[in-house]
Amino acid sequence: MANQTQHGIGGLTYDKSKRAWPNEANVFIALVLIILAFEALGQILPYMDGQSMLFDFNLNRDDTILNMARIKIIILQVSIIGIIALGVTQVIVSGGIDLSSGPLVGAAAMIVMSFGQTALVNGNPNPSAAFAGDWAFDLPVILPILVGLAFGAFIGSINGSLIAYTRIPPFIATLGMFLICRGIAQWWTKGQPISFPTPQYAALGSGMMPVVWFALLAVVLFLVMKYTVYGKHTYAIGSNEDAARMSGINVKRHKVLVYMIASMLAAFAAIVLSSKNLTAQAGMGQFYELYAIAMAVIGGVSLTGGRGSIVGTVLGAMVFGVIQSGFTFIKLDAFYQLMAMGAIIIGAVVLDQYRQQRGTR
């Protein structure tokens, strides 16, 4: 028997040449291609007059090759939704979905901002005070942050518990929470916006701070997903929930944790967003849940769970930002932008399906 020769002989089982092609590389190539496509459009479209989106071809300026201003805008645009996308990534990897993150941003922003207000605006009492008493003003900045994270953890634990213990589909549980959070956002101040944060609070999201938070959290989430038991179990549950249960993983408790972390990240995004805008409104974060999911999906996170990475999502966020910025660059109307964005998201999922079919043969 041919196989008899292998009896008791182990093959050398770590061959670098047989490593699979990383999915993130594809996303990166897509990112480069999309940038080049917009560059080409800038040259081709007659009314663009040979403009370039990212690469500054104005040779009189020798300080920069890339168009730093536009790159900054792109990164700044995606970083707040990107923070949400980091949390959504681990939810989708675990085989779930979180639709509640957008409204949660609205609700968390309202609640958090009400603890981050300053007492006096130009010597007058704050006109948009959320609470009547003096105690609610000029609180140390750590307080609104903790309140926000606690609120996120609370909402997330409800999401997770519903999904893990009542076994209703994540889509339904988080869709319900979507409406509940929108309601909370409006109920908190009966629809009134909250403004005038303390200087410390305003510093949280000023300038390029959203990018700093996004980068920092992306690194943390990357390490957590790749190098900790938490990350490994998240992939295992999304890949084969029965196998995970049979292996002794506490699947229910883990799911609650996954949704809690996702909602805490969304709440943190709300802190950064309200600080950046210096105001909180009940309608904040509209479509953010969908954009966050889109970033993850574009970045190669599989909606069936088990596959995807934080690196992919960060690249997906960049692709998302470049497309959005590129549409503006080629002067595409806002209606067409939404339509095109929808088409791109569908395309990303179709691509994922195709990859999977090819993968399993």
Binding site: M1, A2, N3, Q4, Q6, H7, G8, I9, G10, G11, T13, Y14, D15, K18, R19, A20, V224, Y227, T228, V229, Y230, K232, H233, Y235, A236, G238, S239, N240, D242, A243, A244, M246, S247, G248, I249, H254, L257, G306, R307, G359, T360
Partner: protein, 260 residues
């Protein structure tokens, strides 16, 4: 009970509502012995395995493992006690690589004070995986690739390699070659021989008569939820036709008359 039994069941019974899936099973397995469990579909083979491995809770009866009565709350309990099971439906996570799958649920970690965020010790897991694969003679092109794209045989081997990696006291395989091709089956059978050589006891659930006669020392036949025969096939007195007769109910061994 004598010291040379690794597993013994006394009056093991499982009812699903009114269905008596397993009735009064008395079963003994010696250390280092390889036993096959045979029987028709629905004869109680898988039910029997599920009671031993803690996947289900038995209705009544006793399980004595390694000299001690045991009451497993779940498959992990059984695994920690040293019973390693290769289930009919492979309990593998497709998107993880080989070491991840071997160590799923019992990862090697560092900085354990970090709770769920304790760090994985990839290096230790990789080394133990290599050692385990070497012991079983499993060849896999690259253990760092996800097992999604591996062949059925390779996946089955990964599932079986868990046994070798964790130096278990008892291995149970539920139809390990049912979905495999000829060559892959041969590979799995080689692993089973390796286990025999190293003195690890095995319970093999199988429909494959040739395989059973090739590999094991003893055949226990189940019929309609009861054990109806316990045959020593190493003596050469028992033929395949005999076993078929026991399975179909044409014959019942002495001492098991109540099973008929």
């Amino acid at each position: 009970m004598s010291e040379d039994y690794i597993l013994e069941t006394r009056g093991l019974t499982k009812h699903y509502g009114g269905v008596h899936a397993l009735q009064d099973a008395n079963f003994k397995l010696r250390k280092g012995e390889h036993i096959a469990i045979m029987g028709d579909n629905g004869a109680g083979k898988s039910t029997f395995v599920r009671q031993i491995t803690g996947v289900e809770t038995r209705t009544s009866g006793e399980v004595i493992f390694d000299g001690k009565p045991v009451n497993f709350a779940g498959p992990l309990d059984a695994r920690e006690a040293g019973i390693e099971t290769v289930f009919q439906t492979l309990a593998l996570a497709d998107d993880l690589d080989v070491p991840d799958n071997l160590f799923l649920g019992r990862e090697k970690t560092r900085f354990n004070f970090l709770g769920p965020f304790r760090l994985l010790d990839y290096k230790a897991m990789r080394e133990q995986t290599m050692a385990g694969l070497e012991r079983t003679g499993v060849k896999i092109p690259n253990i760092r690739n996800s097992i999604r794209n591996m062949s059925g045989g390779q996946r089955q081997c990964v599932a079986i390699a868990r046994t070798a990696t964790f130096a278990s006291k008892l291995t149970i395989m539920d139809e390990p070659t049912a979905a495999l091709g000829v060559q892959e089956t041969a590979q799995v059978e080689n692993i089973i021989r390796t286990l025999k050589d190293s003195g690890e006891p095995l319970i093999l659930v199988s429909h494959n008569m040739r395989q059973v006669f090739d590999l094991v020392d003893r055949v226990v036949v189940f019929r309609r939820g009861r054990i109806c025969a316990d045959l020593d096939i190493k003596t050469g007195d028992v033929t395949g036709e005999d076993v078929v007769a026991y399975i179909t109910g044409a014959k019942t061994q002495e001492g098991f008359e109540d099973a008929a």
